[in-house]
């Protein structure tokens, strides 16, 4: 297929899924092969002389243009080989495309013993390279089961295997678009939230309560409530601790607050401990 014809083959309305996920105006595809193009299969010879297909029918096809003399390419090929193993048994077809001008030793070294195991296709005269309009190495194209170019993925030193994996899993139907997007552009790791710190103080308070150190337990659970006033379990525990300390009225307040926060919480609405206190006493009946 001629490059211009390939453009004609592109279907209108196909989203530029790949690149637009990062930046709306980034270089979004092979120069001559927009995302959405139906890719035509070709047969190319491998270094061993065997003919190999670029695409396999009814499969997700992952093909990557590489330069076996560049470190980024070698790194990407290793990652591809690992992903190939990971997706073994699934309808995913793999190939790396190398110019036939590449030194034989470099090609052999890339996929030789102890290195990446992945099918290599030699691009005679860089015909495929030119047809796609490749501008850099390594770069991967990923098609859906209809041989439509679904994603264009230029190399990145960080996160590349994760992105390729997510794209494949999406096309296989293993994950939805939202999950794919979370993998491709992960949200920033959250700082330790006050809610997490609140749970830590709650845990400490529980241990102190169980070991009969009620005053300390009260102090710890109050720290917990300071950090997250909505943590029902902290109010329930505070109620128990205060009951154990004989501060019955305060204990009732704590249980009532827990019930107010979550009327369905069994700790807040269930049986309350007995409370015998200096200022009154009695059962802390809900």
């Amino acid at each position: 297929m001629e490059p211009r014809l390939a453009r004609i083959g592109a279907r209108a309305g196909i989203l530029l899924w790949s690149c637009s996920t990062i930046h709306p105006t980034c270089a979004s595809s092979f120069a001559n092969m927009p995302v959405g193009t139906i890719i035509e299969d070709v047969e190319l010879r491998g270094p061993d002389g065997a003919e190999r297909h670029l695409l396999e029918a009814d499969s997700i096809n992952v093909f990557m243009f590489v330069n076996p003399e560049q470190e980024h390419s070698l790194s990407a090929v290793r990652a591809m080989a690992e992903l190939r193993e990971e997706f073994a048994g699934k309808p995913v077809h793999w190939g790396v495309i190398v110019t036939d001008r590449a030194p034989q030793a470099a090609v052999e070294s890339m996929t030789g013993r102890g290195n990446a195991s992945i099918p290599v296709l030699l691009d005679k005269g860089d015909v495929l390279y030119g047809r796609f309009g490749v501008a850099l190495f390594p770069v991967a194209g990923i098609t859906d089961r209809s041989s439509r170019l679904a994603f264009y993925e230029p190399f990145s030193k960080v996160h590349y295997p994760t992105v390729i994996r997510a794209r494949i899993r999406y096309l296989l139907g293993e994950i939805d678009q939202a999950e794919m997007m979370r993998a491709v552009a992960p949200p920033a790791e959250a700082e330790v939230a006050d809610a997490d710190v609140a749970r830590r103080f709650l845990k400490l308070a529980e241990m102190l309560y169980q070991s009969g150190k009620y005053e300390k337990a009260a102090e710890s659970v109050r720290h917990s409530i300071e950090k997250d006033e909505t943590l029902v379990a902290s109010h329930v525990l505070l109620g128990r601790v205060l009951a154990a300390l004989g501060r019955c009225e305060e204990a009732i307040e704590a249980f009532e607050r827990a019930k107010q926060l979550d009327p369905g919480d069994p700790g807040a609405t269930g049986p309350r401990p007995d409370c015998t206190q200096s200022t009154g006493g009695g059962r802390l009946t809900p």
Binding site: C26, S156, E189
Partner: protein, 370 residues
């Protein structure tokens, strides 16, 4: 019992825990075919998990220790003889620090953290934040020798290594969904600092406000679009200009030497500059005449990449520059590049107007229009 006795006893107990700890530093990816990178090394503060001597002021103190509740972690409550730990370290720590179960289950986990919390934290108190055993940078470099060596032998060490959260400013020391335990993708981390005016390099020269540059220029270089600053820059240290990972031509003109373009050739195809005629290797050709070759491949005044392209972003396709410096007076000569359906044109610029057509199958240089 006074606190000094308590600290001494606890220190001895915890030191034995530490000595029994296997220290493994590195990152582990949790995938069936994932690689496991581990770098054995010694850890600063190894064997020193006891409380600080009484005379030394703590910066942080662990709540159970502060309250004197030894029995929460040890078999005995008596500070004089708290004995061994009641349960394994991780079980004890994660019993309260529940949120770290999720953190440690991320795709990439720090092997040191997976192994034992006390590889990096003192469970009693510390002069450092977060109960760390040593200064955060020193603690990390105690295992990560390659970064330490790089920093020692490089002309420039990234300021991020010694300011703010130091290593933790970019890495999560426990676990992350991103390789190298990064908190975010590289670009998002870089612009936390490199998105302001007035930031200076070690020579006092102003550094680019990347956010502003990218907001004003919509055509981004591939690695920028991919949020991958580390494809070109070493984020820790380096001896090349701007901590570049490999050589990049520093001048506008240079005789062609592939070594000068080592950085570009980590991704771009050297054949693009080495082949005088092609219909496949570049779109910047007139018929088959390779115009990259024509501009760059000269023995004297070869134009380097920077003569025509911006490195991060520009307003024109292919990151073509708006203009080029001309003479010593600071005048900028407009490039006046325009993309056309068949190729492109450069008008009234370094040379008279020239058009190229990359759809033509054979050489056919178009004449100048003036």
């Amino acid at each position: 019992m006074d606190m000094a006795d308590y600290r001494l006893i606890t220190g001895i107990t915890m030191a034995s825990v530490s000595l029994a700890t296997v220290l493994i530093a590195g990152t582990t990816e949790r995938t069936p075919a994932g690689t496991t990178e581990r770098t054995p090394a010694s850890r600063p503060g190894s064997g020193n998990l006891g409380p600080l001597p009484q005379a030394e002021a703590a910066f942080t103190s662990h709540a159970p220790y502060e309250t004197g509740d030894c029995g929460l972690c040890h078999k005995q409550s008596d500070p004089r003889a708290s004995g061994a730990l009641a349960r394994p370290v991780a079980e004890l720590c994660l019993g309260c620090h529940e949120d770290f179960k999720q953190v440690l289950s991320r795709r990439f986990a720090h092997a040191a953290a997976e192994d034992s919390c006390v590889n990096c934290h003192n469970p009693h108190n510390s002069k450092q934040p977060k109960l760390l055993l040593a200064d955060p940078k020193g603690l990390c470099l105690g295992c990560h020798d390659s970064i330490k060596d790089l920093a020692l032998r490089s002309k420039v060490v990234h300021g991020a290594l010694s300011t703010g959260g130091k290593c933790a400013g970019c890495h999560d020391p426990h676990g992350s969904e991103i390789e190298h335990l990064l908190l975010r993708l590289p670009f998002d981390l870089c612009v936390k600092c490199h998105a302001q005016d007035g930031l200076l390099d070690t020579q006092g020269k102003a550094l680019t406000n990347m956010r502003k540059l990218l907001d004003e220029n919509s055509v981004w270089h591939g690695p920028v679009s991919n949020k991958d600053c580390t494809s070109c820059h070493d984020p820790h240290a380096g001896s090349l200009f701007r901590m570049l990972a490999a050589e990049y031509p520093p001048e506008f003109y240079a005789p062609y030497d592939p070594k000068l373009y080592a950085l570009c050739f980590t991704c771009h195809n050297e054949q693009m500059l080495a082949t005088p005629e092609t219909t496949t290797l570049t779109q910047f050709r007139d018929g088959a005449q390779n115009l990259h070759y024509l501009h760059v491949r000269r023995s004297e005044r070869g134009r380097t990449c920077r003569a025509c392209h911006e490195v991060h972003a520009s307003k024109q396709p292919h990151q073509i520059r708006d203009g080029v410096p001309y003479g010593s007076g600071g005048w900028i000569l407009k490039t006046n590049y325009r993309e056309t359906p068949e190729g492109g044109v450069c008008e009234k610029t370094c040379h008279a107007t020239k058009t190229y057509v990359n759809t033509a199958p054979s050489p056919g240089t178009r004449p100048s229009t003036e």
